[in-house]
């Protein structure tokens, strides 16, 4: 865009172009796909956390009218290889799509029934007889490390998947020189992502052309195609993966699942389309979980509150098998655990441990909520120990504005940042001095108000390809194609795969402004490997910072070509031209212009061949970021704890986020709101619970506490804008920020309220019963 032309769409609250189909029942999710002759597949799942499979009798199930096939692990042994983990790990277990010999967690698939419809397939499951010998179960990752713990994968001799250490700076010296060392244990409990649409897949095999089409509720259709190609031994050009409307992902739909492999395999085996739809119980048991990290922290500090270093030992619960990125997530937590602060030295040890549970993997934030929780709880602990103000302790240790780009102890380089204004703004919104006074007054009368503060920084826009594990398909780059059609309307193909984020709108805003056209003149297409060039997909808040940057590259190539054509038609040098209001015009005099359509006609039409310029208007961009982006901000809350019931009530929730330049404030708000809700859910409500026998006690939405509207506060948002120098858009990413900032903020607030009772730490979720018991114990002591 030329200087002086005001963007019409970028920066505006443009309502979403995705919505008309979604509010009228015209969205097509996987379960809405119906193909002629389609069969339904249903999985039989292990009721045991750990057991030997002696035998499986499927004869009665096979005889049920309407049943087409019943397969067990024995039927795929040697035919389907192990499922894949892309992240490096020392001990990687064999992971069959259907259990063989042993089951290792409740919900593991042991057989699949395929029938004319879902009801019949479900009936068939009741007729399958599995003879199990239960084995000793281990669900506590710390106990799994003990010498006499049952071993989940015998070939490894113990339950350790990986032991890794990262050390940077003079941590031993920091420990020696500290006035005191603050030590504590933190638990990031296990969570279930719970997208409202469970997983699902539909596969269709064309034996004539040996071509497989798979619809899946996935965040990365190209990645899925690449991995399926490897497992099914099919070339990628004979596979089409479509992510239709995807009803939420939050990281858990990035994984490549046993059921996706089996659905495709069954379609090929039976020569019939096959559909598998996950039920909610299966979703809670067998869709990848999140977090589940125990951390032992040691923070060497000076008496004035200066932090000298940070040392942590991570016990990472890996579940029974490693999923696609399971071993990668804790690493992010370690690399980012020093947060917004000048911490010259750090060290962390990771112990990744097998247990009889589902594997965790990426879940909204994937490592950064854990990191932020460590950094922020550390700040609060320091403030508490030294009797300093929690806001001032943060301010004191912030990486100063002048230090950017700032290399932190782990080696990462924060692109840009200015942390104090966000903190100041958040404190101003809650009227910090006043609310502290109210708190003091309240405490005199048995009223327990708490003020929570969290200054966060996170890593987004992954990223330079070396940031991803070497064995991971795709890369850190992203792709886009832009095509101006013969009627001068625009089609954009993006390699990211949005599933609620709204890039059909925000990308259209970008393109419309750049080309001086209307937003309705742009259609953004995504999620189909047969239409869209290879892309890595949507995760880690990379859609706009990486996918948007790729789109800008393609747009600039298109603009250059169109200017060149216009230049010959207008007899004006291309560098003096700009796009304005449906024309290409002279930047110095916008009235001297020709309509875009004439340039398009000249490019496509047979009447106006322009020597030396290829016909057509189709340009592509593949953007490899040089570095990651680091959004930041401060969340502040005021809560009140009812000492008689332990119930936490929100009085205020303020979020000040800096995600760089904002393309659509409405969408940014939506992302922040949703993120905060999920972060609060971790702080107060949600927890995946397995009992000591490996039974999943939170297997329905009755038991797993996804928050309802009444359980969440009214959010007050504000922002600072510090553009990222990394990408041409100046954007940083906002998909996970809310989740990262809110969990420590709320915990900080609740513990601040409980300070008069001498309660220093409580593990999440901070349920009323837990708070009430802590208060009772404190009162007795």
């Amino acid at each position: 865009m030329a200087a002086g032309i005001v963007p019409k769409f970028v920066g505006s609250r443009v309502k979403r172009r995705e919505d008309p189909r979604l509010i009228s029942g015209n969205g097509t999710y996987v379960d809405d796909i119906k193909l002629p002759g389609m069969l339904a597949a249903v999985m039989l799942r292990s009721p045991y956390g750990h057991a030997k499979i002696n035998s499986i009798d499927v004869e009665a199930a096979k005889k049920l009218p309407g049943v087409v096939a019943v397969l067990t692990g024995e039927d795929i042994r040697g035919k389907l290889p192990t499922l894949i983990t892309a992240a490096p790990a020392q001990n990687v277990p064999y992971h069959p799509a259907l259990a063989q010999d042993r089951v290792r967690f409740v919900g593991e698939a042991v057989a699949v029934a395929v029938a004319i419809d879902q009801y019949t397939a479900q009936d068939a499951l009741d007729l399958i007889e599995v003879d199990y010998d239960p084995l000793p179960v281990i669900t506590d990752p710390e106990k799994a490390l003990e010498a006499d713990a049952p071993v989940i994968h015998e070939q490894f001799g113990n339950n350790i998947s990986t032991r890794a250490e990262v050390k940077s700076g003079e941590i031993d010296r920091a420990m020696r020189e500290a006035d005191r060392i603050i030590k504590f244990r933190l638990v990031n409990q296990r969570l279930a992502p719970v997208p409202m649409e469970p997983r699902g897949a539909v596969a269709q095999w064309n034996p004539g052309s040996e071509y497989l089409t798979l619809w899946s509720s996935t965040q990365g259709p190209h990645l899925l195609r690449s991995y399926l190609a490897e497992v099914l031994k099919l070339p990628e050009h004979r596979m089409r993966v479509i992510a239709p409307e995807v009803g939420g992902g939050f990281g858990c739909k990035l994984n490549v699942y046993a059921e996706e492999v089996m659905t495709a395999y069954l379609a090929m085996l039976l020569n019939k389309p096959v559909k598998w739809i996950e039920r909610r119980r299966e979703n809670l048991a067998t869709t990848t979980h999140g977090r589940d990290l125990i951390t032992y922290i040691e923070a060497p500090v000076k008496n004035d509150g200066t932090i000298l270093g940070l040392k942590a030992r991570f016990i990472c619960d890996m579940g029974a098998y490693l999923q696609l990125l399971t071993p990668m997530v804790p690493g992010f937590a370690g690399m980012m655990m020093t947060g917004c602060y000048k911490v010259p030295a750090m060290a962390f040890e990771q112990l990744m441990v097998f247990t009889n549970k589902m594997a965790p993997d990426a879940y909204r934030g994937a490592g950064r909520p854990e990191a932020c929780f460590i950094a922020e709880r550390t700040m609060d602990m320091i403030a508490l120990e030294l009797n300093l103000d929690p806001a001032e302790i943060r301010r004191k240790n912030f990486i100063p504005k002048e230090a950017f780009p700032a290399q932190i102890a782990s080696g990462l380089i924060y692109d840009s940042g200015d942390y104090e204004p966000a903190l100041d703004l958040a404190l101003k919104h809650i009227d910090y001095p006043k609310v502290r006074a109210e708190q003091a007054e309240g405490r005199k009368h048995g009223r327990y108000i708490g003020i929570g503060i969290c200054s966060y920084v996170e890593i987004c826009g992954i990223g330079p390809s070396p940031m991803l594990p070497p064995s991971m398909k795709g890369g850190g780059w992203e792709s886009a194609t832009i095509r101006m059609e013969p009627d001068s309307k625009v089609t954009v193909l993006t390699g990211v795969s949005p599933h609620g984020q709204g890039q059909e709108t925000s990308f259209a805003q970008l393109v419309a402004d750049e080309l001086g056209i209307g937003i309705d003149d742009v259609t953004v297409v995504h999620g189909d490997t047969a239409i869209v060039q290879y892309g890595t997909g949507t995760f880690g808040s990379r859609g706009t910072s990486v996918g948007g940057a790729a789109l800008m590259m393609a747009v600039q190539k298109l603009q250059a070509k169109m200017k060149k054509i216009a230049s010959t038609m207008m007899e004006v040098p291309p560098d003096q031209l700009t796009f304005n209001n449906g024309t290409i015009a002279m930047a110095s005099d916008l009235t001297k212009s020709i309509p875009l359509q004439r340039v398009v006609d000249a490019s496509y039409g047979h009447k106006h061949p322009i020597p030396g310029i290829e016909p057509g208007l189709n340009e592509a961009g593949f953007y490899e970021p040089t570095a990651c982006t680091f959004p930041f901000g401060t969340h502040a809350c005021v809560v009140e704890v009812d000492a008689d019931t332990g119930v936490v009530k929100f009085l205020r929730y303020v979020a000040v986020d800096d995600c760089g330049r904002i393309i659509n404030p409405l969408l940014v708000e939506g992302q922040v709101h949703g993120g905060i809700a999920q972060g609060i859910a971790q702080a107060l409500y949600e927890e995946v619970i397995y009992d000591e026998n490996g039974q999943l006690l939170t297997a329905t939405l009755m038991d797993y506490a996804v928050p309802k509207a009444e359980m969440l506060p009214h959010y007050e948002l504000d922002s600072t804008v510090t553009p990222s120098p990394i990408n041409p858009l100046g954007v940083k990413g906002v998909g996970e920020a809310g989740t990262i900032g809110s969990t420590p903020c709320v915990v900080s607030g609740v513990l601040d309220a409980l300070k008069p009772f001498g309660i220093k730490n409580l593990d999440m979720p901070l349920k009323p019963e837990k708070i009430w018991r802590a208060i009772q114990a404190a009162r007795k002591a």
Binding site: S24, T700, K708
Partner: protein, 159 residues
């Protein structure tokens, strides 16, 4: 067995299995896939439809129980090519992201506003408790409900 119902103003009669759930009847037999299945235990509300004007979770109703009733699904909200004010509200206020819970939210809101044309924020939050959304954190949904309520009150006033 046979069931006869009116769906979005159209009467239909089908031979069904006794155990068929209403949500599967709507999706598989009547081919109206706008109504979603999110949990099968009436906890998430994605399957909410109107039965005789009242919001009901169709995943825990047998199709057989719907004999003779009038059902409205999300597909029945658009009238004469115009969005229902509730649909408009969700679009204007960014009341949806992935869209999966949305049909249930729209039907629930329609029911709520028919009973309470001017609900407070607290009343809206309470009414939404049976419908889960994982994307929006609910605030934009609340704005959407308020938008729709305003619009419907204004329309009523001018009529």
């Amino acid at each position: 067995m046979r069931v006869t119902v009116t769906i979005n103003g159209q009467r239909r009669s089908d031979e069904i299995e006794d155990r068929l759930l209403l949500v599967h009847y709507l999706r598989e037999v009547a081919q109206l896939t706008g109504t979603h299945v999110g949990c099968e235990t009436s906890l998430c509300g994605a399957c909410t439809v109107l039965i005789n004007g009242k919001a009901v979770k169709s995943c825990t109703v047998l199709a057989a129980q719907a004999e003779g009733v009038e059902i409205t699904t999300v597909e029945g909200l658009v009238k004469d090519g115009h969005l229902h004010p509730v649909q408009e509200g969700f679009w204007e206020e960014h009341g949806l992201q992935c869209g999966f819970c949305t049909p249930g939210m729209l039907m629930l809101t329609t029911d709520l506003l028919s009973r309470n044309p001017d609900p407070s924020e607290a009343e809206i939050r309470h009414a939404l408790d049976g419908n889960l959304c994982r994307c929006t954190g609910y605030q934009h949904i609340i704005n959407a409900v308020q938008y729709a309520a305003r619009k419907m009150r204004e329309t009523r006033k001018s009529a």
